[in-house]
Symmetry: C2
Subunit: 348 residues, 2 copies
């Protein structure tokens, strides 16, 4: 949508010259009802709201006085959970770009749900941010439509699923990261390599596991399904799944832990089993959180440029809010292997 829609020569749907009264007539409701819908009020019947929003979307209505200079100075950063140093990297990237643009970051959390609940949308609409950055979360089609109807662009950073074609997103090359991590272990001479993924239904995690499989299979190895396990990216899951792997008589000599926090759990499981890292067990993480450098031993991991991803997502939201056309609507930033001291050749 352009910032100032001109009457289109074709008389097409995006003329931008429709008034609130026109919308009210077309929807068969009163002008105040249309206003209520546009202001995100909740005292409108759901079916009325849907009808009005559909008409607004179809006509690309431009609010009067809605020049961009009067817009919000807030960028909304929506997390599914504020649980780890991972979230802080995202916040830092978003905050830096927001500050450069004279904006501030407002945060909301969906309390562990991957799709935020109903109250969330109402509060966002009341705040009228310039744009919404959904981190590791999916918005429902209805939520996306309601934000679009209010000219609030949504960008997904590190998508959980496959965002619809209309939703811009910034991710990382997860599949390549999984491939590189596993190839590093193969090159050191490991053959029995365990994999601990994140949640099975989360695409970024699946991509890492698929990269692991691809590395194993292109090396002529068969993936032992018993060595592939799933956690939730947190320390405890890494501990639990590694404990299962390390209790096997044919335990793996290396584990690709799927996230740095899970790698710390693997460290703990190794300590509990009396195994030394890396002499008895090599461990590779994923993320390269600041702590990866400071744990004992410093962790070999796949660097995911979280700050850059959040910064790119924030820039994209600002571009879209200005009504400008971004150069790219889907970006995957490169991951890189950072070799530290948690990987070594297997014991002879």
């Amino acid at each position: 949508m352009s910032a100032k829609a001109e009457p289109s020569a074709s008389g097409g749907p995006a003329s931008g010259k429709i008034t609130i009264a026109d919308i009210a007539t077309e929807a068969g409701v009163s002008v105040p009802t249309v206003s209520k819908v546009m202001n995100g009020r909740t005292d409108v019947a759901a079916h009325t709201r849907e009808r009005v929003e559909a008409i607004i979307r179809r006509h690309g209505y431009q609010r009067r006085g809605d020049d961009r200079s009067r817009r919000s100075t807030l960028v909304e950063l929506m997390f599914h959970e504020l649980e780890s140093a991972w979230a802080l990297e995202i916040i830092r990237g978003a905050e830096q770009v927001a500050r450069e643009h004279g904006l501030a970051v407002v945060m909301s959390e969906s309390q562990g749900r991957l799709t935020p609940g109903h109250g969330w949308l109402e509060s966002v609409i009341a705040r009228r941010p310039l744009g919404v950055i959904a981190v590791f979360s999916d918005l429902s089609a209805t939520q996306l439509a309601k934000l679009r109807a209010r000219d609030i662009p949504v960008v997904v950073v590190d998508p959980v699923g496959e965002p619809g074609p209309e939703t811009p997103s910034i991710g990382a090359t997860n599949w390549n990261g999984g491939l590189t991590a596993t190839r590093h272990l193969l090159e050191l001479g490991h053959r029995r390599i365990g994999m601990i993924g994140g949640p099975e239904r989360v695409l970024c995690s699946r991509a890492r596991v698929d990269g692991y499989r691809a590395a194993m299979e292109t090396a002529g190895l068969t993936v032992d399904p018993d060595l592939v396990r799933y956690g939730d990216f947190h320390v405890e899951a890494g501990f639990k799944q590694a404990a299962v792997l390390l209790a096997r008589p044919d335990r793996p000599t290396a584990i690709f832990a799927g996230s740095d926090l899970q790698a710390l759990g693997v460290y703990e499981a190794a300590r509990a089993a009396g195994l030394r890292v890396p002499q008895d067990l090599s461990v590779v993480g994923f993320d390269d959180l600041p702590l990866a450098e400071w744990v004992g031993p410093p962790l070999t991991t796949v660097r995911q440029p979280l700050q850059d991803m959040a910064a790119a997502g924030t820039r994209l939201a600002i571009t879209l809010a200005r009504g400008e056309k971004p150069e790219h609507r889907r970006i995957e930033l490169a991951t890189t292997l950072v070799v530290r001291h948690s990987t070594a050749p297997p014991a002879p």
Copy 2:
């Protein structure tokens, strides 16, 4: 200040019935000028602004339509830097209380400066948050006065200095924490105990160092000034200062690191010097960040209830914004020693 100021019987200064016109007359300026000052506009001469603000403060002017229900839904969280897992604990505590009250947290960062610059205040005033929570930062007297003139309460969490008597604050029992950490090392049999404080001028750090001194001296030991060093609470400073301590021929057998991140730096310096933790060197941190549990070896540390401190600060700001009188305006929450595996008796 009460939420609804009644005309005071004594005719005293807090009548709350003064109009903008009265303020304009008293200040000798026009009504639009008073409005500009009240709306945080910058196109008013500094001395005019000061005069108007002084009158507003003196009379406790209550804006028309300024019933609390119309107030902002934002709580402003101001950091001096968004640099570590420490910041995330604060964010989580604030976000949880904000969410419980139907509010959202907006963040700003003073980019490492302990007192935010000029642009910060203007942007806060434009956002009109319900309240400001300054984390590990000092606001200047002018900044405090300007926020007060706009009925935006300020609460300081983990104060750097000694906030003035008008500024409510939430801290932790830093002195007790330093005492307890050092006593733990003394009880294990250590006598040469190194101390790495945070920045020397920061009061919470001084309190920890003073607690260390008190423990040493009440145990009948003299503090060797060469064993007391200062960093900036980050990993690199811990590494650098510990390297100096461990290079001494009479190196300490234990180090109280002043923060968890500095403790990680001490770990790294010990590794570099070929010393094992805890067999050759005991280490105690301060904060109990989530990572303290997962580093190798798990870190003995003084738990500072960061989430609780931020939550208490946010609650206090909400109470003040409602015009209610809080039970306490200054709180120090207790620290507790968490013994893990980084401390042991000194080698015989």
